[in-house]
């Protein structure tokens, strides 16, 4: 068996998986929605066959599990029928969530890097700080998110900042872990070289340790950006917010609008993918030429 040149070798496996996933999804939707569909048709009082039953199960207004085509239609309608500034357009909500996620990510990168620098340069900080950093990640975000919202709300901060703080709380950890490793990744010979140049600590940091850590930073960033989106969505839940993908999920679940929930979920996934792609793009531009190692 040969694969044609130009056709990426991953196309076939990915396509196979996609088809499999769709089959399982449609089967699951039928299985979960059939009882409801049967009930509805019985209530209507007309005789019906299996085909009618399946059509009904795949076109319910509030299915237990909507079909992929229902979700995509909902997504498409939302994106094309309303202005991007309208709360009925998912782009608007994605934008609100992205804003919080990116603000939180930026704060997380600053916090994570500062912690890493402290840990790498100060032995006592490694012993005293690292356990707390790890402990902070054992607390479920769902438990601490409402506390953050309440406390910051009490201090007069509402809207973007509480959400960004929740994102930061999730983001800084991979950054710290990655940067500690990255800042220590400089080859001993590279450090000796700095010594032969009688370079100071600050110079060794800027010209050696920091650039050496960048590949590690970008690996961490790709993890952080995805969990930052999650954090922003979680942060939008307790605020009962009117905007953001989290608010959209919440209102969907209030009214049993499962199709709306799934559309928001797909949007959130697309947002994460987009942000990871952006990080990857920046990485390529910044490290691409020297990074082929």
């Amino acid at each position: 068996m040969t694969i044609k040149r130009g056709l990426s070798p991953s196309v076939l496996p990915v396509a196979t998986m996609t088809v499999l996933l769709l089959v399982v999804w449609y089967a699951g939707a039928a299985w979960l929605n059939l009882p409801q569909a049967e009930e509805a048709l019985t209530r209507a009082g007309k005789p019906f066959g299996f085909a009618d039953l399946l059509t009904q199960a795949y076109s319910m207004k509030r299915p237990i599990l909507p079909t992929p085509d229902q979700v995509l239609t909902e997504l498409w309608t939302s994106l094309t029928s309303y202005a991007p500034t309208s709360p009925r357009n998912l782009l608007f909500h994605a934008g609100v969530t992205a804003q919080a996620a990116l603000t939180g990510l930026a704060m997380g990168v600053v916090l994570g890097t500062l912690l890493a620098v402290g840990i790498v340069y100060t032995r006592t900080l490694e012993a005293s700080l690292l356990p707390w950093v790890i402990a902070s990640q054992t607390i479920p975000i769902l438990a601490i998110a409402p506390m953050i919202v309440v406390i910051l709300g009490n201090l007069g901060f509402t809207g973007l900042l509480p959400k960004a703080v929740i994102c930061m709380y999730l983001c800084f950890f991979p950054i710290t872990v990655g940067m500690v490793k990255g800042l220590r990744s400089a080859d001993p010979l590279w450090l000796d070289l700095m010594r032969t140049y009688s370079a100071g600590g600050l110079r060794a940091f800027w010209s050696l340790r920091l650039p050496a850590s960048l590949p590690f930073l970008f690996t961490s960033l790709k993890v952080s950006v995805a969990i930052s989106v999650t954090g922003a969505i979680v942060g939008e839940l307790p605020t009962g917010g009117q905007a953001g993908l989290g608010a959209r999920l919440l209102s969907g679940s209030y009214y049993g609008q499962t199709v709306q929930i799934w559309a928001a979920l797909v949007m959130a996934a697309l947002l994460s993918v987009l942000l990871i792609a952006v990080v990857r793009g920046v990485e390529l531009v910044l490290l691409g030429r020297g990074g082929a190692r």
Binding site: D187, L189, W190, D192, L193, R195, T196, Y197, S198, A199, R203, S207, L208, P211, A212, L214, L287, R289, G290, G291, A292, R293
Partner: protein
């Protein structure tokens, strides 16, 4: 008191006396503490004088302290006993004044910098102007035959070219003293021959003092004016052999009887230190 310096060494020192010593080591010892409580003696009572313009090779089997001695000269290690001066200063002062260039076993180029910017790094740290940095980098890269590769990244170069770039980087500091730690050890023999020829021409052309660590007898005899034979456990100097071949050398010289005679003495010296024991 038993001096580790054999008669040849003192003879050489006397003959070279008019030239000011650039490195002078007296009774250097370096003992590493180890976890299992048995300290390792990396250097034991090492005395050595290196005159300006010399090309001195340190040769011996692994663990004989040749790299350690070079690192002591460079102030990358501190001796536990004895004294050493580099250009009349302590090694630390010499390092702080950037009086030497160091070439490591591996090229140790920073992969995120182009070849040129790697060579410019020490000059950046010295605070030279951008124009001067670039001019010097171009000059030194040209000297090692890497003109036209300034904008390449290290991974785009062969191992031999990378090591040449690292030599250019050491030369960019314009040091009088060049310390080289098995710079060609990881290269194939053809590249090695080529770089040896290059290095001897460079040394002759610049009049620098070189201290060169190697475990290749042929390389040591080909390059050196003096060969320091070392032995392990504890690391010490067995013999210092004058290598009075003409300063102008081509690879053909390795076929000459004079070359063979010196190589033979080096091999005898190494044998004496039981370097060929298992």
């Amino acid at each position: 008191m038993h001096s580790p310096s054999p008669p040849h060494a003192s003879g050489a020192t006397v003959r070279q006396a008019p030239a000011a010593p650039i490195v002078q080591a007296k009774n250097l010892s370096l003992i590493y503490p180890t976890a299992d409580g048995k300290p390792v003696t990396a250097l034991s009572e090492v005395s050595l004088t290196i005159a300006k313009g010399d090309f001195v090779s340190l040769i011996g089997p692994s663990g004989c302290g040749k790299t350690t001695l070079l690192r002591v000269i460079a102030d990358l290690e501190r001796p536990t006993a004895g004294t050493i001066t580099v250009e009349g200063l302590t090694p630390e002062q010499a390092r702080l004044k950037r009086l030497y260039g160091y070439v490591f076993q591996a090229p140790a180029l920073y992969p995120w910098r182009t070849v040129e910017r790697n060579v410019m790094l020490p000059l950046e740290i010295m605070g030279l102007s951008r124009a001067e940095r670039q001019a010097r980098a171009r000059e030194e890269l040209g000297r090692v035959g890497l003109a036209g590769f300034e904008r390449k990244f290290p991974w785009q170069l062969s191992g031999g070219m990378q090591q040449r770039a690292s030599i250019a980087r050491a030369l960019a500091l314009k040091p009088d003293l060049l310390l080289m730690d098995e710079p060609f050890g990881a290269l194939d023999e053809i590249t090695r021959d080529h770089l040896n020829l290059h290095l001897t021409q460079l040394w002759r052309g610049t009049g620098k003092t070189c201290v060169f660590v190697t475990h290749s007898i042929a390389e040591a005899v080909f390059l050196s004016t003096r060969i320091v034979v070392m032995s392990p456990r504890p690391g010490r100097i067995l013999d210092v052999i004058d290598c009075d071949l003409p300063r102008e050398r081509t690879l053909d010289i390795r076929e000459s009887p004079e070359f063979a005679a010196i190589a033979h003495r080096v091999r005898d010296g190494l044998k004496e230190g039981h370097s060929y024991d298992d």
